[in-house]
């Protein structure tokens, strides 16, 4: 399975944020999306998630040589600030999600099994989500996004505000999830990108480009990334 973007573009009035995005993502890999502030990472994610309409171009899956369009249930999108419906308990939120996604959740498990999987303590499972901590809300958001086993998992700066323990748990989780799907992970933290991701992709001047690591060591690779992002001269 591949996820392919072709000539995707998006402008806001005069500003051309995404110029000509073309890229092929391979199944089973985690892609680290790096870009400077305002480069359009979130815009790209929003276009892929169909939150905003793109101006041109297309994106689709290619399975066994056949193209197919992207449906809402194919995408999991985890935002940097976790948002969960405050008036539900963790258990109720999961039940609601499972209810309405009956068709797309294959071999559903008992709800507690999911909680165990995310290491959410039994005493927290029946609390209202408004009383969850930041890290726990983040776990819930992640959980809801992965239960349906989306083919494409988009993560917008997901680990930045988590404590070290939860961040490590999440990293492990992402690694364990990467088989069978495309994971795109945007971040400003270079070490995180190098540590977690199989490939580094830069969003620069409105286009996506892969950075070849070949046989450079980490320090050289970092230099290369910085140099590529700096090139345009707007320091």
């Amino acid at each position: 399975m591949k996820f392919i973007i072709e000539h995707l573009s998006k402008r806001f009035e005069k500003k051309e944020v995404l110029k000509d995005i073309s890229f092929t993502f391979e199944e089973g890999r985690i892609y680290g999306l790096l870009g400077r502030n305002g480069a359009g990472k979130t815009t790209l994610f929003n276009c892929l998630n169909k939150d905003i309409k793109s101006d041109g171009g297309a994106f689709y899956f290619e399975e066994n040589g056949e193209r197919r369009g992207v449906n809402a249930e194919d995408i999991g999108y985890v935002l940097s600030t976790p948002t969960v419906p405050e008036f539900l308990t963790g258990r109720e939120f999961l039940k609601f999600f499972m209810d309405i996604n009956e068709k797309s959740v294959h071999n559903p498990r008992p709800i507690d099994e999911y909680f165990d999987y995310m290491s959410i303590e039994p005493e927290d499972r029946d609390k209202l989500l408004k009383d969850y901590s930041h890290g726990m809300k983040n776990k819930m958001q992640m959980l809801v996004n992965i239960i349906a086993q989306p083919k494409l998992l988009l993560l917008d700066e997901p680990l930045t505000s988590l404590d070290v323990v939860v961040a490590e748990e999440m990293k492990q989780l992402l690694r364990s999830l990467k088989a069978g799907r495309v994971t795109v992970f945007s971040t400003h933290i270079m070490d995180l990108a190098l540590d977690l991701c199989d490939e580094i992709v830069l969003l620069n001047h409105g286009v996506l480009e892969r950075v070849e690591k070949s046989n450079a060591d980490n320090a050289e690779f970092k230099e290369k990334i910085i140099a590529a992002l700096r090139e345009d001269g707007h320091e």
Partner: protein
Amino acid sequence: MNKILRLSFSLKNTYRVNSILYSLKQLPLIKRILPDMLYGVTGLKIFANIVSVFIEVFSVFAGKLLYFLTMVAGAAALYENAPKERVFLHILLFLTVIGSFMNTHIFNPTRDKYYAVILMRMDARGYTLVNYGYSVLKVIVGFLPFSLIFGSLNGVPLWFCFLIPFSVAGAKITAAAYTLWDYERRGNAYNENKLSKFVWSIAGILLAAAYGLPAAGLLLPDTASLIIMTAFIPAGIISAKKIIAFGSYSEINRELLSQMMTQIDTAKQAAKKSGERSISDDTAVTSGRKGFEYLNELFIKRHQKILWKAAKSVSYVCLFLVLGALLALYLAPQARGEVNELILNWLPYFVFIMYAINRGTGFTRALFMNCDHSLLTYSFYKQPKFVLKLFKIRLREIIKINAVPAAVIGAGLSLILFASGGTSNPLNYAVLFVSILSMSVFFSVHYLTIYYLLQPYNAGTEIKSATYQLVLSVTYLVCFLMMQLKMPILAFGICCIAFCILYSVIACVLVYRFAPRTFRLRA
């Protein structure tokens, strides 16, 4: 001083000009024509500057005109039996004292002050003095024409009409000097936007003295009013020295302005908190349903406080009023004819009442704050079939909630109509009841529809749609104007029912067509 004057004015003006441009950019149609870079376009800037000057001039006079028109001269005219001049001076004196400490102008923490003193590190003393001097000048200039007009109309001697503006300014300066002295003594910075209970109660007592004493026939003799008011002028001159000599402007400004900035941050938090507070903590609430019905039932049950409970208390109040009216009609048969006449012709009035008791805005607000705000970030939730399914469920719920008080009012009105002598055409009863119900359905549909079609909130729970606010204001205005309309039940009721049915059908069609695209978080 000159430089500070120039700088602080240009800063204030820039702030205002940009606010004007920003609000232009929010208007539904105009925003399309305006370029993205509007803050740099000279023509627009000149236009906004003209508007800004106009606002400034307007602000000098408009408030004072209203003040004299309503609170002083207007109120004084109500006391028909008292001598005009004495009442006028009596009220003016007490209000001047209240205004002197409620509205000092010296430490009114505003954003432009924050920018100047905290961010740009302007000299706090110079800045405060220059701005204070200007505001005192504005008081004098703004008061002068109206004290002359309204004063002489009320028989106040002309020489004193000239003195009134200076006396008001003197009182304000004296109060300001007192707050500075108080700061030196106790270290308490006086924030006129956050008054203590003590100050509020003094203001209340003085207000009662201003309007209550004349009603009781007790008035200050006019010589006393004249002497006290005149005495404010030398007091102001002496106090002005204190204000100029005061040394801790920097500290006091920092204290007040930092309070203000934390207020702005906490305002957002408070909105979020109040949204969360409306969620009942009762986890014993459960639901045996499935999917969206499950979500909806939990939402309704956990928001009892703002939905069903509110609707029920309104219903009880209405029931109580209806019973009261029936009792009154029974006890006072002579009123029956008049009441009958009222009921038969005042149905349009109830549009406004139904508007006022409708839970629609509260419902959509809670829906967004506590539910959609988060769920709209999940793509599964945005699938068209789910959006529409939930719309249907929610519409059913809000109609149910609003129907309870509507049924009480509708049935109550029919009963009152019957008890007050009835009507020759029995159809009136049915139309009365059905039209009240259909009004409640209309408001339920209306609020939910504009919420789904315009979805005005962004991820930060701020309202970002001027169109939405415009629609709300127009709704209010139309309902308000309905109060002026007098029409027989049959004519108005049938029009009203027809309109509500038509509107609901159109609204639902629009939602089904467009909501899957419009029901998104705003960028």
